[in-house]
Symmetry: C2
Subunit: 105 residues, 2 copies
């Protein structure tokens, strides 16, 4: 994953409401949740929620599919894993006990 895409995803997940939305979707598993289900969990008006979901969709973190009257939202697990991999590899090296900045003699 490129750094700009990572920053974009992190930015979207950096809003408490959106992070909670994403978390609820993940907890719901592959079946995901309808927008209305999310609304019941999150004390926000429909228009505000819709706005936040569209951010997540734009970033590719969530996909939507219409099922009759309801819109089902599913998280993109692969993208999330890519993001976590990026953070681990690019932003968290140096944690291991053997890691030291080699002295530049």
């Amino acid at each position: 994953m490129e750094i700009l895409q990572a920053a974009r995803c992190l930015d979207k997940l950096g809003n408490p409401t959106r992070l909670e939305v994403f978390r609820l979707l993940v907890k719901a598993g592959k079946a995901g949740l309808a927008v209305g289900d999310l609304q019941e969990h999150l004390n926000v008006p429909a228009s505000t929620l819709s706005h936040h979901i569209s951010h997540l969709v734009n970033a590719g973190l969530v996909h939507q599919e219409r099922e009759g009257r309801v819109l089902r939202c599913r998280p993109d697990f692969e993208l999330m894993q890519s993001l976590i991999d990026f953070m681990t590899e690019e932003c968290c090296e140096g944690l291991g006990p053997a890691q030291e900045s080699r002295d530049a003699s």
Copy 2:
């Protein structure tokens, strides 16, 4: 880690300049980098850079220590690991092959 703290960290890392700052610090290892070192890598004015660094410091992702005339910045590896753990546990379950949403019969 609580969800609000996670959101705050993600929000701070969600800016491309700040993400790059943090990444550079991680790559530099435990020794970290001085603000001036960062400035040479990142094409931004000092005041803008300082502003971004203070966001990272406020979130606890970076610590600063004065060394003579320069301010040395070090990433908080533990906090970053906590954030990655949060994302993995709270926002990425469901990836394993055996994971399915159990039918609520």
